[in-house]
Amino acid sequence: MAGRVGNGNSARAQQSVEQATLVYMLVGFAVFLLMGVLGLLMRLQHAGWIDLGPRWFYRIMTLHGSGMVAGVLLASLGGVARVIAPRIGLSPRLLWTAFVVYFLGSGLVILATLVGGFAAGWTTTYPLPVRGDWPMSATWGFLLGYTLVAVAFLLWCLAVLVGALRTFGGFGNTLAWPVLFGRKTERPVPTGPELAATVVAIDGIIAVGAGVVYLVPIFAEMLGLVSGFDVLFAKNMLFLFGHTLVNLNIYLAVALVYATLGAYTGRTFKMGFPVALAFNLVIILVLLPYFHHLYQDFVQPWPLHLIGQFGSYAVGVPAFFVTIIGSLGLLYGSRVRWSAPVIFILAGLWGWVVGGFAAILDGTIAINNVMHNTLWVPAHFHSYYLFGAAGFTWAYLFHTLGGVEGWVTSPAARWLGWLYAIGAGGFVLAFFLSGLQSVPRRYAEHIAAWQVLGQVAVPFVLLLGIAFLGLLILGLRAVPAAWRAPAPAPGSND
């Protein structure tokens, strides 16, 4: 039990942390499956094979988007907390509290959409939430739900930041500046996952701040305190919040790649200069690309458009050359133990890069003028999410439930892993082709010429569904053991 650093958790606290984080991941996974069914419904509608009607389509779309983002985020927050808690010392009580708040918030979002009829899309772009054809109570429910989710996320960020500062001492050390500038230090240096988590915490706090600036005037308007406010400013705050939040999810997921891949390759991700540099750059770069959501708002001051294009190009570079090339280096010639987590990570690298490249194309203002708000956009973020952010998180979840020797290496698990990759791949490629065909996103009705690609997508979604159900069945059997498992020695994760 040596190796307890800083204010690391006791063994008992650590076990409670592990239970809490397991709940985060399992609930996130369950939400993912349910929201996936809603996704299937939407693609069936696009194929022209079912008719939900516009009201239900848009409610479902709104719930699918917000539910997926929240569910995947919850799971990766749990995974990362589990990885970093031994040294950073996250309190189990805080994790459970945040979970309850998160859960209540999500419940409100579900009620607001399915019962209340709220359907302004997951982005809820002002002034649509207050001008829709649904009751104001639904808007209240939805936005309060978002607020609770944001509060829970903020709690997580604050806890991580405070814990990291205490463990590593000061911002410089916490951000691995000794490694960056080649200085000696007495203090421990953060590992990759710890640094990634800290970066997410810092930018997460900024994003939530923007979310508050976005939501407060809307609440004020609903209370009759103001009659309205600037839509351009609102949109800037909205996407500073929303875009940054979903972008941060991938960095959480990257922390989980660091924590998983080593176990199957016998190699470890070293905290070195490139990792330190990349994550320090990300702190700033991740805040810039959101401007690409406003390229078609011609009244936005033009330098901001150019910053958006710069940020969209730049943000991927550190990630690619550190995490992606680094992971491929871990795999190459490692006599890897092929298993569901490794396959998910490999597929995740594929989708993350494909989605990233698609984003660079669409992040080019000249191209965006004909691609904006086509299905190219969901194509990009589904690649990035389904393979990357979510895929990496499920890799870690399966690893947690299976261990290096467990069911994850069974032929069934491996086959299901490949099946998922094929299903998700076909599904996103159909989306990309639809985007090239100028099919608009967020349309409840598709004209005949657009339906073909929807029809192509459906079988792939079904493959995806089968793969996840299979993995669920395999994984569930391992849950009781994972719940009871004694806490491993603190620090064993680095």
């Binding site: 078609q296 708002d297 710069f310 890897v336 690298l349 003028n369 090239l436 065909q437 608009p440």
Partner: protein, 254 residues
């Protein structure tokens, strides 16, 4: 000055025939009709970095003397050329990246000392990052002349000769005129009455040629020149709730 610039755009189209060939046909039959818009093709190509920009002050686009065959080929090439350019670049990238990962996967189960792999990783990081930064930097600069904003478009197309007032509201478009002369620079003055809408223009062949947001409290100006006659469709491209997909209108270019 302006005629020269405009004819420069016209010239480029003909060049793009050679550069693009039958590409649109290859990409899922999107070349239907092929009512391309002249000014789009050089933008699309240059934005993906595959065509050099040349200005020349030869004939006006309208006065082009092209045989029927060449015209048809050119129109096919223009049909969705921005989207085709993006598609080609994207799918080449996907194939290369899939191949690279496949190659790594087949070698993951072999044995290679990690020191050697690490050395390669370091070199890849150093040189790869340098190359990517240079390529992205070049793409950034090359894309700048093709911004869709009014000053940039006016420089390419000439200042507007026709003004069309556009108003979006839940869930309809109102246009001050429904016919637009071809070959003239049009300025759409776009407003919204209630929530954000997206003023998206679809060519007769079904592809988006340009768009701008319609925002309450703001006026956005969109410049464009239609060189192909036909019926163009306006679709709302910003989600505006229940009737979003019904927010369709048409105008003709003659």
């Amino acid at each position: 000055m302006q005629p020269a610039l405009r004819s420069g755009v016209g010239r480029l189209d003909r060049r793009s025939v050679g550069a693009q060939g039958e590409a649109p046909v290859a990409l899922g039959g999107r070349a239907r009709g092929g009512e391309g818009v002249a000014s789009l093709s050089p933008r699309g190509l240059a934005a993906v970095g595959s065509l050099h920009y040349h200005c020349s002050n030869t004939t006006e686009y309208q006065n082009d003397i092209l045989s029927g065959v060449v015209l048809r080929v050119r129109r096919a090439a223009e049909g969705g050329v921005m989207q085709v350019g993006v598609g080609v670049v994207f799918f080449i990238f996907v194939v290369l990246w899939t191949g690279a990962l496949w190659w790594i996967a087949t070698r993951a189960a072999l044995t290679a000392p990690y020191e050697r792999v690490s050395a390669v990783v370091s070199r890849l990081r150093r040189w790869g990052a340098l190359i990517v930064v240079v390529v992205l930097g070049a793409a950034f600069i090359l894309s700048l002349p093709f911004l869709p904003y009014p000053t940039s478009r006016a420089a390419r197309l000439g200042s507007p000769q026709v003004t069309v007032e556009v108003t979006g509201r839940m869930w309809a478009w109102e246009l001050s005129q429904k016919t637009i002369p071809r070959g003239q620079t049009v300025e759409f003055v776009v407003r919204a009455l209630d929530v954000n809408h997206g003023f998206g223009i679809y060519a007769p062949d079904g592809r988006i040629v340009t768009q701008v947001q319609a925002m309450p409290g703001y006026t956005n100006r969109l410049l464009y020149r239609f060189d192909e006659p036909g019926t163009y469709t306006i679709r709302c491209l910003e989600f505006c709730a229940t009737g979003h997909h019904l927010m369709v209108a048409e105008f003709t270019v003659e």
